[in-house]
Amino acid sequence: MRRETLALLAVFAVLALVPVLAELTGQTSWTRLVGQALIYGMAAASLNFILGYGGMISFGHATFFGIGGYVVGILYFHFDEGTRFLGIIPGTGQMLLTLPAAILVSGLAAALVGALSLRTGGVQFIMITLAFAQMFFFLFISLKTYGGEDGVMVRRTNSLPGLNMRDKATLYWVILVVAAGYYLFLRQLVRSSFGQIIAGIRQNERRMTAMGVATYRYKLAAFILSGMGAGLAGALMVNFLRFASPDMLHWTRSGELMVMVILGGVGTLAGPFVGAAALTIIETLLSRLTEHWMLPVGVLLLAVVLLSRGGLMALIARMTGGRGK
């Protein structure tokens, strides 16, 4: 318990120092790299909540990531043009408005997708979430107003009162704080009464029903919570990239999120963050070395699966002599 708190504080401190260290060493791109890893980590962690803790393998999670992103993009677009979305909702560039809006809208989308998808299970669930994801993808591709396949630009990062969001380091710290908050939120969630029920459903849904649990409701709630998390991550991503495009919703992105979760360690709190960081950093470093970077990345991933049960977290646990998970 105390050890965990210490470890978390240490990690947070190191992460907070990244922009400073990057500046000192001249390796300034690390700020962006780590920032991106944190955002993907959040998206992966949100997926891991349903996948690892709830046993719902969603292959369409990028949908909510993308929708969250597009909320920021579209609001900015109308803000920029001085028009209204659907003629009603005015645009905005205020982060205090855009983030909640992104969470809300992606939550609604997750409610829709979840309500239908959760009527199936197993492989069929994987595929039906994929189906909805594809439909959303084609929808966004055909949104001519918002650039279709080319996406929408967000010329200026959303503003936060009192902060200079055009400063890279500031933006990074904002992301770090949100990510840390999200981590704590998930940690709380899995320890809660609700989290316990979700874990039970993963292991044996039939038994939970026999105990009197209306499993569908809990699964739907978890699915919505997870979609909201992904939407938050997507909204941050668009602020970070200043660009929203259908790439964010592509099925390969969903696959990538899943790979991050599995690589890091399914059903662990830190795993998705570790997986996201490992994947982004390895890809970036290797692609600097060789244009055939996919080959070593593939070999590394394969090695992790074959050599460790439970991904990098299990490996880390083994090396530090901990218990895993």
Partner: protein
């Protein structure tokens, strides 16, 4: 009338192609229960090997043989080297491992063949058209594809449902340990069947190579459609995959062919075109969603 007939035929042919793509996956994913994302990479390997050998030797049939051999061999190596260690594990580990395999196989292909698409032509005897109806010429090669597809469907159905190998593979999918405890060397069996699945993917690649572009990543584009076919049909059912393939092929073709003009009755031409195509791109996913909502386990789900 002729247009309708032709489009029906196109739909049938596309459906058979979809089944051909999905046939190997029916074995590997549907029956052995391995989530194999690298299936498309086997397809690509078959297409590349066949095209390359066909260019070198000038013989389509030589290419066909090479495509089958190479994809089958890759399948066997992958099973022995990777998949075998993962049967007892979580499905998610298979996702990660086969994702890694895609990266490796794609980049390996770039290293061997370069980034440019390969030229592949069709065998002389199939290059013409026959007039199936007055005023309706139809490419012979597409008829050939239909025949191959039907043959594979029949063969696979018999193999899975009528032979002991089929029974043992199905048995192994639910309880490997028990199959072994009854005296069956399931490791060798699974290697063989996985190899066969990969070989079928390769066959699909070979058959497609004269029609589509033989290029790196060609397999990644088809992988979703093949999973859709297997799942709509009902995981584990050859018959289901076949029916689902035909259904999707017909629906996709018919939607693309006629939806835009139907929509054009109620809206302006270009918009109808775009919307019609948009809907038909979503078509197979829409159908999958509907089928799964009505029959959560697919059309011909194996029980139990």
């Amino acid at each position: 009338m002729i247009l309708l007939t032709e489009q029906l035929l196109n739909g049938l042919q596309y459906g058979v192609t979809l089944f051909l793509l999905a046939a190997g996956l029916t074995l590997i994913f549907g029956i052995m229960g391995v989530i194999n994302l690298a299936h498309g990479a086997f397809y690509m390997a078959g297409a590349f090997a066949a095209s390359w050998v066909a260019i070198q030797t000038g013989s389509f049939w030589g290419g066909l043989l090479a495509g089958l051999l190479v994809s089958g061999l890759i399948g066997v190596l992958v099973e022995v080297g990777v998949i075998r260690r993962l049967y007892a594990r979580d499905h998610l580990d298979q996702v990660l491992a086969t994702f890694a395999l895609i990266l490796i196989l794609n980049q390996g292909t770039v290293l061997i063949f370069g980034r440019q698409p390969l030229f592949s032509s069709m065998p002389e005897i199939f290059s013409g058209s026959v007039e199936i109806l007055p005023g309706l010429p139809y490419p012979v090669y597409r008829l050939f594809v239909i025949v191959v597809g039907l043959t594979v469907a029949a063969g696979l159905y018999l193999l899975i449902n009528r032979t002991r190998i089929g029974m043992l593979v199905r048995a192994g999918a639910t309880n490997r340990e028990m199959v072994r405890a009854l005296g069956v060397d399931i490791r060798r069996l699974y290697t063989t069947v996985f190899g066969l699945g990969a070989l079928l993917a390769g066959l699909a690649g070979v058959m497609a190579s004269p029609i589509v572009s033989v290029q790196v990543g060609m397999g990644d584009e088809i992988i979703l459609a093949t999973f859709v076919v297997v799942v709509i049909g009902g995981v584990g059912s050859v018959k289901g995959a076949f029916v689902a393939g035909l259904l999707l092929g017909l629906a996709d073709t018919m939607l693309r062919a006629f939806l835009p003009s139907l929509l054009a009755q109620v809206m302006s031409g270009p918009e109808a075109q775009a919307l019609g195509t948009g809907i038909s791109s979503m078509g197979i996913y829409l159908m999958m969603a509907i089928v799964l909502l009505l029959r959560p386990r697919g059309l011909f789900a194996a029980q139990g």
